[in-house]
């Protein structure tokens, strides 16, 4: 496994992963809004980003602490292009969507806090402590 410098981990991997994750929650928010709007639409199948290929890979790389893979996958990750039909839900379930909405909003909030903290770390590094 490649050895990473502290700054490399913070700046490139964490930074790009945070940005892409923020993108994903934004796309997911739009999809949940769309699912709720189409609650009575005949033949509509709920959409989600939760089963995107890159998202699965990232979750796997994170659980295995594999930073090489993480860097590669997160840089090529395009959340808006990984929208898929929910594999198990064939029609919109309102309670399911409301839970996803609450979860997604909190996820966005924590990611935005993390992003602010990350820039504080970089600021500290620039100032020399």
């Amino acid at each position: 496994m490649k050895n990473y410098d502290m700054i490399e981990l913070i700046d490139s991997i964490a930074g790009s992963l945070l940005n892409k994750s923020l993108d994903r929650t934004t796309v997911e928010n739009r999809l949940i809004a769309n699912n709720i709007a189409n609650i009575d639409t005949e033949g509509y199948r709920p959409l989600t980003t939760e089963f995107g290929r890159s998202y699965e890979k990232i979750r796997q790389a994170l659980s295995e602490n594999d930073f090489t893979d993480l860097e590669k996958v997160s840089s090529s990750w395009k959340p808006a292009e990984e929208v898929s039909i929910h594999p198990t839900y064939h029609s919109v379930s309102l309670d399911q969507e409301m839970v996803k909405l609450a979860n997604n909003t909190l996820q966005f909030q924590s990611l935005s806090v993390a992003k602010t903290k990350l820039s504080e770390i970089l600021k500290t590094a620039i100032k020399g402590g």
Partner: protein
């Protein structure tokens, strides 16, 4: 764009409001009396349709259509609108059905507002993030 989700939620709100309007119209017309089958008010339904694409652009099509049901025939020979057999005609509005769809529409309207609130929060936090 995140602001697209405002338009999507607005689509949902408009659809549910149209459903409430339609329920109101069905109930308002339910007590009317008619003598001719052709004139009888037919209850209306709001139907949403999808184009089957995964583009998440709100509701693709909304149409209001008349339910194809036979009017109710009530025997009331002394009624001024009664026909020669003594029957009057009333629209086939099922008030229980209408109230149920009214309640569902109101709940779904609230759900769309929740989605709108969430999108608003996301934009607010994005602004806060860049202000720091």
């Amino acid at each position: 764009m995140i602001t697209d989700s405002f338009a999507i939620s607005l689509d949902g709100l408009e659809y549910q409001r149209l459903t409430v309007d339609t329920v109101a119209m069905n109930i308002a017309n339910s007590t009317k009396t008619f003598s001719n089958t052709m004139d009888v008010y037919k209850p209306r339904d709001v139907v949403a349709s999808t184009n089957g694409q995964m583009d998440a652009n709100g509701i693709d099509g909304i149409t209001v259509s008349e339910r194809n049901v036979e009017p109710k025939r009530i025997y009331d020979p002394s009624h001024p609108y009664a026909n020669e057999d003594g029957y009057i005609l009333k629209p086939a509005v099922d008030s229980v059905e209408e109230i149920v769809s009214l309640m569902t529409a109101v709940r779904a309207y609230q759900a769309n507002i929740q989605a709108l609130e969430a999108s608003k929060k996301i934009i607010q936090w994005t602004i806060d993030m860049s202000a720091k």
